[in-house]
């Protein structure tokens, strides 16, 4: 049913987007908690930096990644020498680019839901003998779960559709970094591949719809659990 190119593009896309979200979930929740619950110097600056990928042209992000993490980049040289890791032109590099582009969406959604959790409930839990971690695990996170789910799926969808930063930093290498949007772009550039391009386009829409529906369903389930779960 699916052609070799399509299957490969979907597999790479899921791998890239999945690891992009997987690696940013915990830091994203931690950062969201910091922004929602703590006051500190430079909070506004951090908030601004965090939102930068949302407003910058993706190509700029890709270019910044390239000059810092490229083989000649200051961070890239160091990574190469110490660990033998080279990120540009690999699927891990694509995941990094996708993760950075998706990060603001994840943090925003989680932060909003954390801010909606009543600190009075957390104070009540602490008077009942719960330390900070137990409060986080049993009160704060469960009550913020719908937002965490929404943020995760939103970030996943954003990483899945990443084009500019990925193209710039990880390039368009078949079997390595050619995700769905990149494969579609290649087909559009090739004469006589209009049908294949249309199929890929339809596939993209289907995957995006699935992700959205899944997010809605999970978030609704989580909200119901908040009001129904047994201790």
């Amino acid at each position: 049913m699916l052609s070799e190119i399509e299957r490969e593009a979907i597999a790479i896309s899921l791998k890239v987007a999945g690891s992009a979200v997987g690696w940013t979930l915990i830091p994203g929740i931690a950062l969201a908690w910091l922004l929602a619950r703590r006051e500190f110097r430079g909070k506004a600056l951090l908030d601004g930096l965090l939102h930068l990928p949302l407003v910058l042209p993706p190509v700029v992000v890709g270019y910044l990644l390239l000059i810092s993490l490229g083989r000649q980049g200051w961070l890239g040289q160091w990574l190469d020498r110490l660990f033998g890791i080279g990120l540009p032109f690999t699927w891990q590099g694509a995941a990094l680019a996708g993760g950075i582009m998706a990060f603001p969406l994840l943090v925003r959604a989680v932060r909003l839901s954390l801010e909606a959790v009543d600190p009075k409930l957390e104070a009540a839990a602490s008077t009942l003998g719960a330390n900070r971690w137990r409060v986080l695990a049993t009160i704060t996170l469960p009550l913020a779960l719908p937002g965490v789910i929404t943020g995760t799926l939103l970030a996943f969808a954003r990483a899945l559709s990443e084009f500019g930063a990925t193209m710039t930093f990880a390039a368009n290498i078949p079997g390595e970094t050619r995700t769905l949007p990149l494969a579609l772009y290649s087909l559009i550039q090739t004469p006589g591949q209009e049908d294949a391009a249309a199929r890929l386009c339809a596939l993209s829409i289907a995957i995006a719809m699935l992700a959205l529906l899944a997010s809605e369903w999970l978030a609704r389930r989580a909200r119901r659990r908040i009001s129904e779960r047994d201790g």
Partner: protein, 386 residues
Amino acid sequence: MTRLHKTDSHGLALDVTKRLGGFALSAELTFPATGVTALFGASGSGKTSLLRLIAGLDGPDDGSIRLAGETLVDTRRGVFVAPHRRRLGVVFQEARLFPHYRVRGNLTYGMPRAKRKRDTVKGPGFDAVVSLLGIEALLDRLPGTLSGGEARRVAIGRALLSEPRMLLLDEPLSGLDAPRKRELLRYIGQLAKRIDIPILFVSHVPEELTAIADHLVVLEHGRVRAHGRLEELLLRFDLTEQLGGFDAASLLEAHLVGHDERYALSTLRLADGQTLAVPRVDAPLGARLRLRVPIRDVALALLPPERTSFRNQLAATVARIDATPGGTGIGNDEVAENSAVEVGLRLGDQPLRARLTRKSLDELGLKEGMSVIALVRSVAFAEVMV
């Protein structure tokens, strides 16, 4: 201000100052290790701020708090025990039940692990608390479906099951209707009798504290105005305004000795043998009751009046007369304030206060030591003590 007893190593001893915006709290106090202590004052007097300092939800600017000899806070020595290590059960004004746990889950949230497996490792067990508070039927419900009174009871149970060394109740009755209030007050009263945990009860409603408190701390503008045993403070004319003003009342203790079903009345016997008829009290014969007698509902006569609707005529002795006007809290009306006098009576050993007009006082020619008849129009609140 009353001097505190620094040697009391069982109760709670605090000496703190805290500035909150334009408001300054400065309190030096000891609470006894048993019974119910009411922390009383108008809103804005610093009651809740003080409770938050004790619970560890805020830290004082300066000072120390010690419970049973253990230092919870000492700013000079840099000690601050986190709230979750203080083992103080707090019941907040707004119940604060966890919406994603059922009542059962809320109740067990603060229970020590050992206790969850076995009943009564220490203190009352799950079943005992549940039945004491009458919440058996609520265990599988979600907090969102509970009424205000039910939610408060669950919150009290939750705090109690965390094996607290002291129970802090912050206006637990606010926002409830009168029957719920009375019911919850009865539960708290029973709690205090059955469970050996000191209770600190924050309130600005005189009826609540006269119903269950043993000790009283009166806060005013962030400072301790008075503290001591409830009965003693209720006799202080200078506190009348704080303790209810126009609604001020004295307390009488009595035993239930009979019911008159036809008129729905109950007969109570005071310690000196005199009896009172009150609207039917739902309690077993022999029960000890605490009565609240509003001082404006006590009239005085020199001879027993005949043909009167006053059911209750009690022989009493005039113990003292407070002729200084003002502070009776009748209102801002200067004339009204100047026209009222307070008379302290004795019924055997029990004190009773009456308020009358200065004119009546002069016409009756009342003097300290005179025998009079106290006419009690109503008994506002009867609390079953045992």
